[in-house]
Symmetry: C14
Subunit: 88 residues, 14 copies
């Protein structure tokens, strides 16, 4: 096989692997934060507002980590900067 | 085998692997959030409304992670942008 | 062996592997949600209605993750879109 | 060996592996749900009826996951749709 | 070696592996259910009847999962439907 | 080596492996059930009769899983049905 | 090397491996049962008799699992039924 | 393949792997910190201000670790200093 | 190398491996039983006699499992019955 | 490939691997320290000052460990002292 | 290399591996027993004598397991009975 | 490749691996010690002084372990004593 | 390479591996015993003397296990009895 | 490559690996002992003196284990006694 084929195969396989591994930890972290928020609500219903606010900021920060992975995956699939060395 | 065959094999195998690994963490996270919501309901039945709302927003965010994986898998199976370099 | 054979072998093996791995996490998550619902019922029998409703919505969402895997497996077994490149 | 032999070997080995892995998680989930139901009964004997009903619905949903695996295994052993490409 | 030899070896080895892996989870699940039933009995001796009934239904459902594995193993050892393609 | 030698080696090695793996889970499950029974006895000595009865039925069902493995191992060592295809 | 040599090597290595793996689970299970019995005695000294009786029956059943492994190991070392096919 | 191809493949694959592994621990750590903050809020609502401040400083420090990984990944993808030795 | 050399190497290596793995589980089990006995003594000093008796019987039974491994190891090192087939 | 290529590949891959592994433990440790600090604040709001001070010193020491890894990674990427032996 | 060399290498490597693995479990078991004894002493200082006696008997039995490994290691290093077949 | 190349590659890769593995345990240990110190402060604010002193001595001793790794890594990168045998 | 080289390499590598693995379990065991002793002292300050005595005997016995490993390592590095067969 | 090269490579790599693995367990053990000491101080401030003394003796003994590893590593790097057989 030629080098473009190897590059295509590795990029495709790597992207699939990276996105499936990359969502593991954010998913666990979200599950933990949400369940703790629900627990906190049940114990202190009147603090619902500040709990919800903290929870959503937290979920956004965790989501940002999954977005990092998604961004790298999309860069690799759509616009890999190393491709120009390969096409030369 | 020629390069298209390798590409087809890797894409098919990778898609199967990625989707089966990619749902692991969201499933665990959902299970945790739901069971905690049920626990919270049993302890504070009158907070049912805010618990349910937080739970559903949380499940939607976790589901979004599984959707990321599904989207990458479908891109690979149906419209892989790297395929054009291979067909050239 | 020719390329169709490789494709058939990998699709069959991958489908078997994916479905058997893909049901692991949903099964654990369901087991957790159900057992927590039973626990909640025992502690708060009068909240049975809202517990059951939340449980069934949750089980449906978890089941949706297993369905994603099943759908990808069936696409691979019955109508793989990458097959046309292989048959050309 | 010819291609039909490879196909037969992989299908047989894969089916054995898939079914033995595929029952792991449902079995654990069932064990958890049942033991929690027994615990709930011991704490709240008068809620036996609703506990039993929820338990059986839950066991049926978990069983459905094991059935998915069994169905894919039997499709592979008895009527694999990819076999026609191989016999051509 | 010829193809029948490979088939025989793989079927024998696979059957041994599958049955020894396949009983792991049912055994753990049974152990959990039984020990929880004993615990429930000790706490609520007068609910013995309903505990025993739920336990036995549960053990039967878990046993059914081990039976699935045993059935596939025996199909492979005694009447493998894929054997006809091999003997042709 | 000829095919009978391979068959003999694999059967012997597989049988040793299968029996040593196959007793793991039943042993753990028995240990759990027995220790829970002892705990239940210490808490509710007057329920000894029903505890012992449930324990022995449970141990018999767990033993049945180990017996499945032993039966498959002995079939493989003494009367493997696939041997006739090999001796033909 | 000839086939008898392979057979001897595999039998010896397999027997050593099987016995060392095979005693793991029974040993853990015994340790659990014994320590629970000691705990039960300390809490309910007057139930010592029934505790001891249940403990010894349980240890005997767990020992039986280790005996299964030992029996298969000794069959393989001293009278392997598959040896006659090899010596023919 | 030539050396630039190897370099491109390894950089792409390594970048995908590194970012997907590198977000695991920060995600877990964030999930833990957020859930503990929610727990603290529910127990001591009047300390919300200092809790939020400490939480955000903490999240920023954990995020810095994920940024280290992202920076190294981007250096490798866009401006690898070792590339000049390779192009010479 | 000739066959006796292989046999010697495998027996020596296997014996070392088997004894070092084989003492793991008995050691853990003993540690558990002894520490539980010490705990029981501290809670119920007057039951020391029956505790000590049960402990020693239990340690003897766990020791028996380690002895099984030692016996197989010594058989392999000093009087392996399979050696006669090899020397023929 | 020549030796500079090998060196470049290994340095790039090793740097990516090292940084992604090297932040795992510091991230966990920070998460633990921060969450404990939040817990401590909720229990003893008036000790906020000394808690914050100890927390920040602790985070700085943990960060120093991640910095060690980052320094070695940057040395390898930008100024590896072993490179002179290679260029000679 | 000749056969004595292989034998020497394997014996040396195996002895090092066996002793380092073989002390793992006894060390853990001793740690557990000693820490439990210290705990028991703190709770029941007047039972120190019987605690110490049971502890020392227990440590001796655990030590015996480590001695088994040491003995086999020394037999292999100094007087391996299988060496005579090799020197013939 | 010549021997200096191998030496350079292995030293670079080993240094990266060693430092990233070597900070794992010290980081965890520090995280544990710091979080426990915070917990102790919250429970006993007036013992802050002795807690802080013990904590810092402890952190210094744990840091010393990470320093051992760093020293060996720097010796390997900058002044490896075995290099003289290689350059001869 | 000649046989002495292999022997030297394996002895050196094995010694490094064995000592680094061999101190794992003793270190954990010591950590456990020491921390439990500190806990016991805090609960029962007047039993400090007997606690310290038991602790030191226990540490000595655990240290003896690490010494076994060190002794075997030093025998291999300095006076391996198998070396005479190799030098003949 | 010649034998001195192999020896140098293995010694360097082994030393890096051994030191990074060898500090894991002592670091964990120290972390545990220190955190328990801090806990003990918070509960019993007046026992600070004896706690500190026991802690430091304990840390010294754990440090001794890390020193064993460091000594073997330095012997291998600077004065390996097996080197004389290699240089002959």
């Amino acid at each position: 096989m030629d080098k473009i084929t190897w590059f295509t195969l590795l990029s495709t396989g790597g992207a699939l692997l990276a996105i499936s591994i990359g969502v593991i930890a954010p998913a666990f972290a979200m599950g933990r934060a949400i369940s703790q928020a629900l627990d906190a609500m049940a114990r202190q219903p009147e603090a619902e507002k500040s709990i919800t606010r903290t929870l959503f900021i937290g979920l956004a920060m965790i989501e940002s980590l999954a977005i990092y992975v998604l961004v790298i995956v999309l860069i690799v699939l759509f616009r890999n900067p190393l491709l120009e060395y390969l096409l030369k």
